[in-house]
């Protein structure tokens, strides 16, 4: 179980969306954000690969004969 799930404390104050967006536009935050995205991409890659592989089909997938009688 990752540490994140055990953290149930909620921050006390609401974050002002305008302030959040304005800070997000700060180049320093952008760098930090991109770095975080890069790290998270490593975690997401196997998930994305697993889902894309479901759509990699070839002739054998389409040639399956379905004929169960009962």
């Amino acid at each position: 179980m990752p540490a994140q799930q055990t953290k149930r404390a909620k921050s006390q104050t609401r974050i002002d969306p305008t302030e959040a967006v304005s800070r997000f536009r700060d180049p320093k935050v952008q760098v930090r954000f991109r770095k975080a995205m890069g790290q998270l991409a490593k975690k997401a890659a196997p998930l994305i690969e697993a889902v894309r592989s479901t759509e990699r089909l070839d002739e054998s997938d389409y040639a399956i004969r379905i004929n169960t009688k009962g």
């Binding site: 994140q4 305008t18 959040a20 930090r32 998270l40 389409y62 040639a63």
Partner: protein, 511 residues
């Protein structure tokens, strides 16, 4: 003179109101056992229908002895009319009710006394909801009598801790004595091995739902088999049915105006379950292609699902909590057995196995899933899942820098996603408590929707549900976001996260 007598006989209708208590359904219908089949074999599906009806409180039946069924009429036209045995082209229809015959007659009388149209329709609807359990068309074929059958898709005994959902059900209206009887269900029929085997029948059931979504004429089993075998006959003759290939099923769906979306489901349990969950939740009845170690392949249509009532965490890649982990069971139509079979989902190694409740449990490996989609939906369920993973990634990255500025804790967000008609999304929002009328008004007045929208919902302990609406006419490389819908604003992070996602995905935030 002879012709006149035949015409008179054909025009004669006979309607009987009978109890279900004394006799079995094959006995009520006086069905013969065909001599070349094992005892009980021909009527096993009918017995399953009867069992389902009894479990749902069925006490009385109404038998119409002359009923023209479009599906059978086409089967008759292309196949049975050419047999030496002179089969009739008409069927019988049995309607099922949760009332004894005496009460049923009394109710019919009461309804027919209402002369004004509006109160009559309202009373008929109320009567249907209370007492109508559906109908079954009985074909004049001794070996496979169960034709188009629509039974009310309500759960049997509610099992504690679980919820049954039937998003793939359609509304059907039958008329009896001029009374409109409405039932929610998904049509089922028995395989006849003449015009249709399991592949045709499963696709036929699935297309019933597609028909309701787009208000088109439903395809008949005969049409499906003929379209499937129009350009290729890899396994011999089309009729009697020798089964279909997946390619033929796709061909049939395509020629009937649907976009067949196929994915492989034999490699990852989590992915298969997630894609199944999102397609059923989206209300497009998927066709499951199943296989056994012996090599036999089978097809069934999904009508509904059972999920855990209380969500349990299903963590994926330390990124998100996938709602699809709550899926435990599917309700499938198996044309060898009957409608609404509860098929338990099991994991065997990396694969998803369905346990079908036949006499002895049958385990089938889920091999592929075929989803007949509206052609305008270009975004596949796999692409939608990919987009949802990207969104969660962004949400996490935002939290990481927000944490430094605002001391925000990082929780695993709960994610689910589906594709639905734009108006259905608006309706679903309206039905949620805490969603204001103003939000719905703002959404409708400011967002240009695609006919079908994809909705990715992200929520967490510190985040109210945020819906990211995607344009389903986009493709994997060009997915556009339509809007970020901030359903509530009761938790600290919600408004900021909605604004940041809106900024990043270049779309407006509706709050």
């Amino acid at each position: 003179m002879v012709a006149t007598r035949v015409q008179q006989k054909l025009r004669q209708q006979k309607i009987e109101v009978l109890p279900l208590a004394d006799k079995t359904l094959p006995e009520i219908l006086e069905l013969d056992e065909p001599p070349f089949l094992n005892p009980g074999e021909a009527h096993s599906q009918l017995s399953h229908v009867e069992q389902y009806v009894r479990q749902h409180g069925g006490r009385g039946v109404v038998v119409e002895h002359h009923y023209i069924d479009r599906d059978f009429m086409e089967e008759y036209s292309v196949f049975y009319s050419k047999s030496l045995t002179p089969y009739p082209n008409s069927c019988r229809r049995v309607s099922f009710f949760s009332l004894d015959p005496a009460d049923l007659r009394r109710e019919f009388k009461r309804l027919l006394k209402i002369r004004d149209q509006e109160p009559f329709e309202a009373a008929s609807k109320e009567f249907s909801e209370k007492h109508y359990l559906g109908f079954s068309v009985i074909k004049p074929l001794d070996g496979c009598p169960v034709g188009r059958t629509v039974l009310r898709c309500s759960p049997g005994k509610p099992q504690r801790g679980y919820t049954d959902l039937f998003p793939c059900a359609c509304g059907y209206t039958a008329h009896l004595f001029g009374i409109p009887l409405i039932v929610q269900g998904l049509a089922f029929q028995q395989q006849d091995l003449g015009v249709s085997a399991c592949a045709t029948t499963a696709l036929w059931s699935a297309l019933q739902r597609a028909r309701e979504l787009e208000e088109s004429v439903a395809a008949t089993p005969a049409q499906i088999t003929m379209r499937a075998s129009q350009f290729a006959l890899p396994f011999g003759r089309a009729m009697p049915s020798e089964g279909l290939s997946v390619e033929q099923m796709c061909q049939a769906a395509h020629s009937l105006g649907h976009a067949p979306y196929l994915f492989r489901a034999s490699e990852s349990f989590e992915e298969s379950r997630a894609l199944l969950y999102s397609s059923v939740q989206s209300g497009v009845a998927p066709v499951l292609i199943l296989s056994r170690p012996s090599g036999s392949k089978h097809a069934v249509a999904v009508a509904g699902m059972r999920i855990k009532s209380a969500h349990t965490i299903n963590e994926l890649g330390e990124l998100f909590d996938d709602r699809s982990g709550d899926l435990v069971q599917l309700y499938v139509h198996d044309d060898r057995i009957g409608p609404y079979l509860s098929a338990e989902i099991r994991q065997r190694k990396k694969q998803l196995v369905l346990q079908l409740p036949t006499g002895r449990s049958e385990n089938w490996l889920l091999s592929h899933v075929l989803v007949p989609m509206h052609p305008k939906i270009r975004l596949s369920f796999a692409e939608l899942r990919g987009a949802a993973i990207q969104l969660v990634k962004s949400a996490h990255a935002h939290r990481q820098w927000l944490r430094q500025w605002f001391n925000v804790p990082i929780e695993l967000p709960l994610v689910d996603y589906r594709i639905l008609k734009a108006h259905a999304y608006v309706q679903s929002l309206r039905s949620e408590s805490n969603v204001t009328d103003l939000l719905v008004k703002n959404l409708c007045e400011s967002v240009a929707f695609s006919r079908y929208v994809a909705c990715v919902r992200i929520q967490a302990d510190d985040l109210d549900p945020i819906d990211v609406l995607l344009d389903t006419t986009g493709t994997q490389k060009n997915i556009s976001s339509l809007a970020i819908v901030q359903t509530r604003n009761s938790l600290p992070l919600t408004a900021a996260m909605a604004a940041l996602l809106g900024e990043e995905y270049r779309c407006q935030v509706i709050s």
